[in-house]
Amino acid sequence: MYLVQFLILSSVLFCIGVYGVLARRNAVLVLMSIELILNAVNINLIAFGAFNGAAIPAEVFALFIIAVAAAEVGVGLALVLTIYRNSKNIDLHQVDLLKG
């Protein structure tokens, strides 16, 4: 196996995730797309670790990223619930409090 094939796979997943974050209206779907991005990063990390013999640190950091991602989903969904409770809607298109 070559390193490059993993890198390309992870790039593709990352870009799909970015597209999802930018284009989806539903906040839960945006959070899912963020998960795609985080997983793409993890693949990169593990592949580089396996490539240059530093597998252990790479795995440790991948584990840490999984932990952070779990925290992120928890807080993210809590935010979505709050938005939903306040506006009966989780359409990011209509959540435009930043508009002046």
């Binding site: 196996m1 070559y2 390193l3 490059v4 094939q5 993993f6 890198l7 390309i8 796979l9 790039s11 997943l13 990352f14 870009c15 799909i16 970015v18 597209y19 930018l22 284009a23 989806r24 209206r25 539903n26 839960v28 779907l29 959070l31 899912m32 797309s33 998960e35 795609l36 997983n39 993890n42 693949i43 593990i46 592949a47 670790g49 396996a50 490539f51 597998a55 640190p57 795995e59 440790v60 991948a62 584990l63 840490f64 999984i66 932990a67 952070v68 779990a70 925290a71 992120e72 989903v73 928890g74 807080v75 969904l77 809590a78 935010l79 979505v80 619930l81 939903y84 409770r85 298109h93």
Partner: protein, 181 residues
Amino acid sequence: MTATLATAETVVAQNVFFYLIAAVMVIAALRVVTTSNMVHAALYLVVVLAGVAAQFILLGAEFVGVTQVLVYIGAVIVLFLFGIMLTRAKVGAEDGLSHDNVVPAILTAVLLLLVMGFAVVDFAKAPWSDGTLVIDALDRAPTTVEQVSDSIFSTYIVAFEAISVLLLAALIGAIVVARKE
């Protein structure tokens, strides 16, 4: 170097499985961001996450692969399904899950892919890489849980403690944010 090169080129099964899993992952990921049914999106995400776990195992990172299955597929997806349920999304297909930002989003994503692809190819062509960049994971034993835990609790103990505090903070934060007044 030639030995590992041979390994990488001759191990057909590994490569076949890689491309098979990769193709499934990419298709499923595309469905996650395009499907008009939210529950389907969550289920396609399961496929992608399982594919990621499989790639981890291919790379010899078995513990991470198992953790991926337990944490992501076991817990995070359930959270997502709860999120979909609590926000009362329609169970069936739904219009307008993507909006008018689609074209700039596609442009950005494709641009990003081009830049990253260029970087990867450029990196592979770097003079020191010899053009091969072989992962010789097969020549080594997979890492064991023991090694990983030793590392976490000695070298990376500070980072581990920081992650613990972060999880606690996220726990409290999620409760504070989501509780009813």
